[in-house]
């Protein structure tokens, strides 16, 4: 069976190389048009696929509203499906940066992937706009002149929730989250505000990501009898937890709170079990703002569906980039001027206008929302113009 | 009396509630060929498997040069000098005859750590292999891939591989099975030639061959030793004739 590898076979395999290389490399030769090269590295498959699509839609909507141009130049998109797989993240980011030579990298949803992207962006000095991932580090220790975020930090909604829950006279609270950095940061943000306001976190419970066998924890909560529970899960985990919490009969005796991700994009699956739940986020489904209404209408017209917070974040990513490009008339070579313009821009977002902190994270209002029907309805402003403390950022 | 090499003492083996071997005792001496006869299911193969270590005994002892080896693994017994052949040909089919034997010889001098030397470069292994091939009468087929050998030749290779390990005990499980008359004759001649230097246990159905070569014969029935002694004693034994020979020719397995 060990039959030497003859020349014909070798030729076949080199043909393979050539084929493999030629295919993805083709777009490189579109230089004449001088388009702006936008790299979208987002999840298009797997659990977060719908989020990736919403962000892409939002981004493209903003570009289309500007006549398909940003800063007077046409846009060319390069997309990579990051599969929410952190292990492949550096490689995928390199595909866009080194193979496709993009001018800006936009991504992503998953925090682990985004952290890896931030490192690559720092190393290669590529402009990066994060349209979702909330890991505190991105605008904390990893902050950099070329890294921006148009979404939130994990700390923000949770910190706001700490104040809300203290205001609602809860004294003893149990927290439950997945044991990974976003979960831990959410709990930390909550705890900071809640304990500052005089509350006490009786027990912090974590379960391995993405484990969804909640029953032992629910039993534990029932035995501890806290005044309330602060929880962070997302996607399928959030659906299952909220349902399990309700069927365990805990909903009526121990109220459940959490950052908005627990009830965003998951209400269809959660059904009645989520009804009335209070969460905090920088967006609500029925904001009474002109920009929000026009955005919703335009989005519905373009994509035949209602936008969510992720679409807003994608939309704002494009707006932020546009603000920078407008300053330099589309000349991405003038990096310093462009970044300066982005730093000082006020983004007229469907969530309400926001500016950026020194660490490039939005300074924004966090809303208290209540689940009614299939919507997260605005209740009040939980924290006005809340800025992430950007711990560890030296910039 | 010749030197006692291997012996079983009250050896038993149960499968579930059934005894495949029950209280078997026998001795093997250097220079003597000890044949085991018995109908199908008499426990002859189990006996060999117990002696070679392929099966652990349920009770009893196996002594090798005075030492109790019943707990030893098959490879340890083999390295100590107990070689066996199989009833069903058990070779490396994709290797050549020479490679089969060379690998067998290698087990005596493992050299496992010499990973930077070529296995084919050791003259002692080559000589041992060639000697075994010569003895087994396969010299002309030395470089043929084993899978393409005739059945009889594969049986010869089976023996050659054991010989290449330079054993002092040979446990041979029906080496003549399926051989033609000519091949049988040369195998019988080989057994005779090997006897002076080895202690041999031969399990065989071919009566003529057994009586031609055996120094001692043990007859087993239903896992137990019926009678043991020189060929003449066995031939004349009433008990053996009643239990076994009386039934006429044993059928082939």
């Amino acid at each position: 069976m060990e039959q030497g590898f003859n020349r014909r076979r070798f030729l076949l395999s080199t043909a393979g190389i050539a084929g493999g290389l030629a295919l993805p490399a083709a777009p490189v030769f579109a230089q004449g048009a001088k388009k702006i090269r936008v790299g979208l590295m987002l999840p298009y498959t797997g659990t977060y696929a719908s989020l990736g699509t919403a962000i892409t839609n939002g981004f493209k909507l903003a570009v289309d509203e500007g006549g398909g141009k940003l800063g007077g130049r046409e846009i060319e998109y390069f997309t990579v499906d990051d599969e929410s797989d952190a292990a492949k993240a550096p490689e995928n980011a390199n595909k866009l940066i080194k193979r496709d030579n993009v001018d800006v990298l936009v991504g992503t949803v998953h925090s682990g992937v985004a952290l890896a992207m931030a490192r690559v962006a720092r190393e290669t000095n590529t402009l990066l706009i994060v349209p979702n991932a909330g890991a505190d580090e991105i605008t904390g220790p990893l902050c950099s002149p070329n890294i921006f975020r148009t979404s939130f930090s994990a700390w923000q909604p949770s910190y706001a929730m700490g104040q809300v829950m203290a205001d609602r006279k809860h004294k003893n609270v149990v927290t439950l989250a997945w044991k990974y950095s976003f979960g831990e940061q959410s709990v930390a943000g909550f705890k900071e505000a809640f304990e500052k306001a005089g509350g006490k976190v009786v027990k912090e419970m974590y379960l391995p990501f993405p484990n969804v066998e909640f029953q032992p924890y629910l039993t534990e909560i029932a035995a501890l009898k806290p005044d309330a529970v602060f929880v962070f899960f997302s996607g399928g985990g959030a659906v299952k937890f909220v349902r399990d919490y309700a069927t365990a009969g805990l909903r009526s005796s121990i109220p459940l709170y959490g950052p908005g991700f627990v009830t965003d994009g998951t209400l269809e699956g959660q059904g009645e079990a989520a009804e009335g739940m209070l969460t905090t986020l920088h967006y609500a489904d029925n904001l009474d703002l002109p920009k929000s209404k026009s955005f919703k209408a335009a989005y519905f017209k373009a994509f035949k569906m209602q936008p969510d917070v992720f679409a807003v974040q994608g939309y704002d990513a494009a707006q932020l980039f546009a603000a920078g490009l407008a300053q330099v008339n589309g000349d991405v070579g003038k990096r310093a001027d462009m970044i300066k313009a982005m730093e000082t821009a006020t983004i007229d977002s469907p969530r309400g206008a926001f500016t950026l902190s020194k660490a490039h994270n939005p300074v924004q209002d966090i809303y208290l929302r209540k689940v009614e029907g299939k919507e997260n309805k605005f209740v009040s402003v939980a924290a006005k113009a809340l800025a992430d403390p950007a711990r560890g950022c030296r910039m | 009396m010749a030197e006692l090499v291997l012996s079983a003492r009250g050896m038993s083996r149960r499968f579930g509630g059934l005894y495949a071997n029950r209280d078997v005792s026998l001795d093997m001496h250097k220079g003597m060929l000890h044949a085991v006869l018995g109908p199908n299911g008499a426990g002859k193969s189990t006996l060999i498997n117990l002696l070679s270590g392929d099966l652990p005994p349920s009770a009893g002892q196996i002594l090798y040069r005075g030492e109790d080896i019943s707990g030893w693994s098959p490879d340890k017994r083999s390295r100590a000098g107990i070689g066996r052949s199989y009833q069903r040909t058990n070779i490396f089919p994709a290797f050549t005859v020479f490679e089969n034997c060379r690998l067998a010889a290698q087990s005596r001098t493992p050299r496992a750590l010499r990973i930077f030397s070529k296995a084919v470069a050791f003259p002692d292994l080559r000589d041992a292999a060639d000697r075994a091939i010569e003895q087994a009468g396969l010299a002309e087929r030395r470089d043929v891939v084993a899978a393409t050998l005739s059945h009889g030749e594969q049986r010869q290779l089976e023996i050659a591989m054991v010989l290449a390990t330079a054993p002092s005990v040979l446990l041979l499980d029906e080496p003549l099975a399926g051989m033609g008359p000519e091949e049988s004759q040369s195998m019988v001649a080989l057994l005779k030639k090997l006897t002076p230097d080895h202690a041999i246990l031969l399990v065989e159905h071919d009566m003529d061959a057994v009586f031609a070569v055996a120094d001692v014969i043990t007859v087993m029935v239903t896992g137990q030793v019926l009678e043991s002694g020189p060929p003449d004693q066995i031939r004349d034994s009433v008990a053996v004739q009643e239990a076994y020979l009386g039934e006429g020719e044993p059928d082939d397995e």
């Binding site: 977060y48 029932a222 269809e268 699956g269 | -």
Partner: protein, 288 residues
């Protein structure tokens, strides 16, 4: 932990263990009898859950959905066995492993193409939607108890099927030696087809039964697959009885691991596995 909490945790452990048994039983059957490591087993579980979702949405009734789903699963099992697996029995185990590995990718993408990547809930049937008050604050959903009862019932049925029926006898014979059984005039091809169909159906049924409490989401099959393998490894290849014991042990290790050593909860199950394998390299029980 007070005593009543302990008892409730014990109930949680049993309930989780029984569900694991249900998922893993099909895997261990296919594994033990056909000698196939079916990596796609988790995909069948996922398929079942999505069928429960889609068919409940269509018919409005979980029971109808489950009945139709079972019929579809049997069909899919037969088809796969006929089209793919039956051609590989003479091959190496490795080929079968890789085939099922390829099938995982295909099923996962088909799911994405057909149903999308959203998370969906499946309503608990009206009849079983009540809860039983266990302690002052905690109540236990009747549906979970119902699931456990179904799992126990299935365990009994499988035991009876394998021990006391002609089909079970042929299955047991088939697991020891394919050629020999064939020589006895038993239609081994048919037996294999039935066993594989049974394996697929058990996995899918577990998915359907669990859908109302687990909700349905992408990647749910992979999550359950590995833990099922651990069940089979601990229980011993092909042993349904072993799978039951192993699944219950895992339920206990996982539940109390989470309570006692939350930082290392994920490892508890594997420590259990290593301990069992140290004691018995081939699992607690061998064969059916």
């Amino acid at each position: 932990m007070d005593f009543s909490t302990f008892l409730i945790q014990l109930l949680n452990a049993l309930q989780y263990g029984l569900l694991l048994f249900l998922v893993a039983s099909g895997l261990t059957l296919v594994f033990g009898i056909m000698g196939i490591i079916n990596l796609a087993h988790g995909s069948f579980y996922m398929m079942g859950a999505y069928m429960a979702f889609a068919l409940t949405a269509l018919s409005g009734n979980l029971l109808v959905a489950i009945l139709v789903g079972i019929a579809l699963s049997v069909l899919i099992g037969f088809l796969l066995e006929w089209a793919l697996f039956s051609r590989l029995y003479k091959r190496d185990h490795l080929d079968q492993v890789l085939l099922t590995y390829g099938l995982i990718l295909i099923f996962e993408e088909l799911r994405s193409l057909l149903v999308g990547d959203d998370v969906h809930g499946v309503p608990i049937p009206e009849l079983l939607s009540a809860s039983i008050q266990l302690s002052e604050t905690l109540s236990y959903p009747v549906y979970r108890l119902f699931m456990s009862a179904v799992c126990i019932l299935l365990a009994i049925v499988m035991y009876w099927l394998i021990r006391h029926t002609r089909l079970g006898m042929m299955i047991r014979a088939g697991s020891s030696n394919r050629e020999m059984v064939q020589a006895l005039g038993i239609n081994i091809d048919l037996i294999y087809r039935i066993v594989f169909g049974l394996g697929v159906t058990l996995a899918a049924f577990a998915g359907m039964l669990a859908a109302p409490v687990s909700s349905v989401y992408p990647g749910m099959g992979n999550q359950v697959l590995i833990i099922c393998f651990v069940v089979v490894v601990i229980g011993g290849v092909g042993s349904v009885w072993g799978a039951l014991v192993a699944a219950l042990l895992i339920g206990l290790a996982d539940t109390f691991g989470k309570v006692i050593a939350p930082d290392y909860a994920g490892l508890a199950v594997y420590v259990l596995m290593a301990a069992v394998l140290l004691w018995r390299p081939e699992g607690i029980f061998r064969r059916i």
